[in-house]
């Protein structure tokens, strides 16, 4: 039901409010005036009782029971004493002495004067009806003609009355004398310790003053005081008041006129308090209508919204038809207007709530400027408050202006009207204009539409504090009939945002505030534009972004449940800078909720110059927004342009606090970006990364994915602005064995080294700039075994220093000790110096082995690892001791001395088989001695052969040269040439041999046997177990004659059981080397 609006009359007051005006100030004044009027009425109603005469006669006539003592009765004077009227125990009235003076006029005795002394009257007022017990008929004659004061001279001394009842006990005392109708004057004193009146209770109320009746019109002048008055019904309380009354009643006692000087102490009313209230009022009451002009001044007025040190109100209050209607017109003049406590608290609360945003400094300045401008401010307003017959209350404020101390207009309210809808919702219309130095300049126009809906259009000029600025170009608020407000407008803001900064953020302001106070803003998709948006050190260039709310909800909601923000963007394309580093950002769907989580999909971030950007791609990112912003990310790739290593599929937790973005517990895969991976992907868990300023620092342990073996611990620093950085790579120890092989780490090792066993430790360093990457490192092992193309290597020890670690290039002359290498011949305790270039070109600078008391060394050589090529090694022998060779070969039946030097060129084919080509050993002068002390007989050796063999038994030589050719792994052809041969001391000497001895003999022994076989066959010569029985091979018949020189696997009988006949296969007798079983194998 929309309220009916009279054109001029204000809107009706709701009946529930009672007749009191809405404005607290007006309520207090009216309340008091009413009480005054009633007090006067009581006095008024007692007027008949006093002026009575013919006490005795009338008493009888009235049938009033009373006892009295007659003192004198005479025609002129009747004096009665101790008059007691009513029940003697409970007298209604007692008069000490009553003197009635009569005068004859036209023969009838007329009372000319009465003197009463010591009068005491008791009365009651019940439900507003006064009753003095038995005196009532005397007082309340039913006469209808208008009351007239009788022209009787009355002198009253010590007149007291006690009236109890509705209004509480009233003790009145009156002395005075004079003609009743004209000229009576007396002193009236009324004391009411507990006065109850119209819902109010006054304590220690006293009325004291002069009462007079002039020309039938009684008047009273004097102070009405009370200690404290409280009206529960209206919540009004006044401490200590005094009213200097000067009232005059009309002759017919139907009206009162007069004025009152008011001085009250603390006045308290719901939501308003005054320290004191003083003022003047001229009032007139006639037949139900009350009219008063007043000038009131309140000191220290404190209302919820406003506090004034002084408020002067001058105006007129008119009450009609016994409080049915009233109208208050007043001019207000306030001093030192200050915002009310509640309002201040709300302001500081808002300021605190807006901490970290641009609103905070604006609110702070607003509060400070108010604090500065308001002291000494002046408020001038004129207003009219009306209550219509129907109880509708309306306030009209043609103009209200709040000026700062300097006179500057702070708030100007014009043509303002305030009314209340039947639902008690205030309906306000009017123009408002705020201003003042450092205060927001708001211009508002409020319209009242026929439908009752209220429309406020306001505009705020840019209100700025330093870089924080807010401007509301336009904002329209419509208040619906139900009290809910919808608003639409635009705001442009610059300044701080939580954790960031915005430059010219333009946002439409559309939404509504429900009747219940629930605020919802941006119900639909909303274009947000900004010139620049900064979050931490991420500065985004200007852009317009369409933010859409989740379905069925607004973007911003603020109600009992608190503030909730939720928005989403289908995609984002942003550019900007992170610190000084240029940034390009593209994302898929981004969802944002506060409180709650921000989620973003398929994010692509490029940092740095477009030429060499650092690229992050994230599959999805969540962020928990709070003081710190935390969240998780997954499916993230990080590609540093300068470093050829890619972080793939990273995921983990991140936190952004205090300007530092830190990742913890991150897991990722590290891959070599090169086409041919130099190393297989490694994984990291629990990695730490921090982005502070614009430097990325990180630390993580890289592990072999399948086995989890820790490979290296990396700490890394990367500066985003100039894309420079460095990383330290520590290898506490990788132990190769069954669990992990080099091939698991790098394909480069496959086919180069196999069956690796041992631990490699070391550390390296990589430095990079936008243009180049440099790396270095040192890796060592205390004992590494591996199988290589040239045969197994054991206990390789030493440290290899790399000048270009990623390029696998070492410093020159890297030294490794080789426990054992077996290219076919086991060679121990070697020392190799080499250098490696680009991981493929191996330059063997030197390789040395102690070799049978001498030294075996290799001439420098360059070879290409991994390539199947023929390699030519040239070995140098120096000081090989024949004796040690024999000893090493465990040939205990042979002894030889002499030191040999020589060269052994070995060619390794692609398969890694080594061949001796042109090996030459020559004995150092003075030569040495050879002797064979074992049994050695073969029959059919030629004479010379026999001699040669015989001489081997004990032979000195001056020179010996040994030529070696043939495969290391197979049959070695050895040509031994001895010169300067002489029989050794133990040789059997006979004539012939002595003669021969003097002959210069050169003994040439061509030994064709596998280096190994040479060894083993020698051994077999005396150790049968190491040779199969030739007879078993069908080579020799049991009688020892050779059947065939060799036997071919095909037709050789299967080997017998290894049990060999005890006797050595070789028959005793003269030494003869068994003719070689030609071994067809090449």
């Amino acid at each position: 039901m929309t309220p009916q609006v009279e054109t001029e009359e204000p809107l009706p007051m709701p009946p529930t409010r009672g007749n009191w005006p809405r404005l607290p100030l007006g309520k207090a004044i009216l309340g008091f005036a009413l009480m005054l009027a009633v007090a006067a009425g009581i006095l008024w109603s007692q007027r008949k009782g006093i002026a009575d005469d013919y006490i005795a006669a009338t008493l009888d006539r009235m049938g009033i029971e009373g006892t009295y003592e007659v003192e004198t009765i005479s025609p002129e004077v009747q004096v009665l004493r101790n008059i007691v009227i009513g029940d003697p125990a409970q007298p209604d009235a007692v008069i000490d002495t009553a003197e009635v003076r009569l005068k004859a006029t036209f023969g009838l005795p007329q009372i000319s004067a009465i003197t009463l002394d010591g009068v005491r009257v008791w009365g009651r007022i019940v439900d507003g009806q006064p009753s003095f017990g038995t005196l009532d008929p005397l007082i309340f004659t039913d006469s209808t003609e208008p009351f007239v004061f009788p022209a009787i001279q009355l002198t009253l001394r010590e007149g007291h009355a006690l009236i109890e009842g509705d209004y509480g006990p009233l003790a009145a005392s009156l002395t005075g004398s004079g003609r009743l109708d004209d000229g009576f004057a007396g002193e009236l004193a009324v004391v009411a310790p507990q006065l109850r009146l119209a819902g109010c209770a006054a304590e220690q109320a006293t009325l004291y003053g002069r009462i007079a009746i002039d020309d039938q019109r009684p008047s009273f002048a004097g102070p009405l005081r009370f200690a404290r008055m409280a009206c529960e019904r209206h919540g009004v309380a006044v401490d200590g008041g005094a009213a200097q009354l000067a009232l005059r009643a009309d002759a017919d006692m139907q009206g009162v006129r007069g004025d009152a000087g008011l001085r009250f102490g603390m006045v308290g009313a719901p939501s308003i308090r005054l320290a004191s209230l003083t003022g003047e009022t001229r009032l007139a009451y006639r037949g139900g209508n009350f009219n008063s002009d007043f000038e009131l001044a309140g000191v220290d007025l404190a209302a919820d919204a406003v506090r004034l040190s002084r408020l002067e109100a001058e105006g007129r209050l008119r009450i009609f038809d016994n409080f049915a209607r009233f109208e208050l017109e007043t001019e207000l003049d306030g001093r030192n207007v200050q915002p009310g406590g509640q309002w201040l608290a709300a302001l500081t609360g808002a300021e605190a709530g807006a901490a970290g945003t641009l609103a905070q400094p604006l609110l702070a300045q607003f509060r400070q400027q108010l604090g500065a401008q308001l002291p000494g401010s002046t408020l001038r307003a004129n207003l009219t408050l009306r209550q219509t017959a129907g109880g509708q209350l309306g306030l009209v404020i043609p103009e209200a202006r709040l000026r700062a101390r300097g006179g500057e207009s702070l708030v100007l309210l014009t043509r303002a009207q305030v009314g209340l809808t039947p639902h008690g919702v205030p309906l306000f219309s009017g123009n408002i204009l705020t201003g003042g130095r450092g205060l927001p300049q708001i211009a508002g126009r409020m319209e009242q539409e026929e439908s009752g809906a209220l429309e406020l259009r306001l505009r705020m000029a840019e209100y700025a504090v330093g870089t924080d600025r807010l401007e509301v170009p336009d904002l329209a608020l419509r208040q619906g009939a139900d009290g809910g407000v919808t608003f639409a407008g635009r705001a442009i803001a610059s300044g701080a945002l939580p954790g960031g900064f915005a430059e010219r953020l333009e946002v439409p302001l559309t939404g509504q505030v429900s009747a219940a106070g629930a605020v919802s803003v941006w119900p639909g998709c909303t274009p947000v534009r900004f010139a620049q948006l900064q979050l931490a050190n991420l500065a985004l260039d200007g852009r317009s972004v369409i933010l859409c709310p989740p379905s069925g909800a607004p973007i911003l909601r603020y109600d009992a449940g608190g503030l909730r923000l939720a928005a989403g963007v289908p995609a984002l394309q942003l550019t900007g800078r992170l610190g000084e580093t240029p940034l390009r950002l593209s994302t898929g769907a981004v969802g944002f909720a506060w409180p709650g989580v921000m989620t973003a999909r398929t994010i692509g971030v490029e940092l740095g110059e477009t030429a060499a950007p650092t690229r992050f791609t994230l599959a999805d990112l969540t962020a928990q927004l709070g003081d710190d912003i935390t969240g998780s990310f997954s499916g993230t790739d990080v590609l540093l342009a300068a470093v050829p290593l890619d972080v793939r599929d990273a995921s983990g937790e991140w936190r952004y606090a205090g300007g530092v973005l830190s990742l913890a517990g991150a897991a990722f895969r590290l891959e070599d970006r090169q086409e041919v991976d130099r190393f297989h992907p490694l994984v990291a868990q629990g990695a730490r990364l921090a982005l502070a300023g614009n430097a990325i620092t990180s630390a993580f342990t890289l592990r072999h994915p399948a086995t989890g073996t820790a490979v290296t611990e990396v700490t890394l620093l990367h500066r985003l602005d100039d894309a420079t950085g460095s990383a330290s790579i520590a290898v506490p120890g990788i132990t190769f064995g069954d669990r992990i092989q080099p091939r698991d780490l790098s394909e480069l090792a496959y086919g180069v080294v196999s069956l690796v066993r041992g631990t490699v430790t070391g550390n390296g360093r990589v430095d990079w700039t936008a243009e180049a990457v440099t790396s270095s490192g040192a890796f060592s092992s205390t004992g590494l075994d591996f199988a290589a193309a040239f045969g197994p290597v054991e206990r390789a020890r030493g440290t290899v220093v790399f000048t270009d670690l990623l390029g696998l290039t070492t410093a020159p002359a890297q030294r490794l000790e080789i426990g054992m290498v077996n290219p076919g011949i086991e060679v121990d305790d070697g020392v190799v110096t080499f250098s490696l270039t680009d991981g493929t070109r191996l330059a063997l600078e030197s390789a040395e082995w102690p070799f049978l008391d001498g030294r075996l060394s290799m001439q420098p050589l360059v070879m290409n690892i991994g390539a199947a090529e023929e390699r030519r090694y040239v070995f140098q022998i120096e000081g090989l001791a024949a004796a040690r060779l024999i000893e090493r070969m465990e040939l205990n039946n042979l002894a030889a001395t002499g030191l040999f030097d020589g060269v052994l060129p070995v060619v390794f084919d692609a398969m890694g088989n080594g061949r001796l080509q042109g090996g030459l050993l020559s004995a150092r002068p003075p030569g040495g001695h050879v002797s064979y002390i074992g049994q050695l007989t073969y029959e059919d050796l030629s004479f010379v052969g026999n001699f040669a063999f015989q001489s081997l038994r004990d032979l000195n030589y001056d020179r010996m040269e040994v030529e070696l050719d043939g495969p290391l792994t197979g049959e070695l052809v050895t040509k031994v040439r001895l010169d300067g041969v002489r029989q050794g001391a133990t040789a059997q000497t006979n004539f012939l041999t002595r003669r021969l001895a003097r002959l210069p003999i050169r003994l040439v022994v061509n030994l064709r046997a596998p280096f190994y076989q040479m060894v083993s066959s020698m051994r077999s010569l005396y150790d049968p177990s190491s040779v199969r029985d030739p007879r078993g091979l069908g080579l020799i018949r049991s009688d020892g004659r050779v059947i065939r020189n060799s036997v071919n696997g095909a037709d050789a009988p299967p080997p017998e059981t290894p049990g060999f006949p005890s006797s050595p296969p070789v028959t005793q007798g003269e030494s003869a080397i068994q003719p070689p079983e030609r071994e067809a194998m090449r």
């Binding site: 030994l1007 040479m1014 020698m1018 079983e1077 071994e1079």
Partner: protein, 42 residues
């Protein structure tokens, strides 16, 4: 009597020793065992 002049040129006695051995038989069993035990590389 015959005197043998020590010839200026040394008398060269050349001795060819060929030590070969037929070991393939012996190794066959060991080889097949080795191959069986290292089937992953054969």
């Amino acid at each position: 009597c015959i005197t043998l002049e020590a010839p200026t040129e040394p008398i060269v006695i050349e001795l060819n020793i060929n030590i070969t051995q037929e070991v393939i038989y012996r190794l066959a069993d060991d080889a097949s065992n080795a191959i069986e035990q290292n089937a992953d590389i054969f």
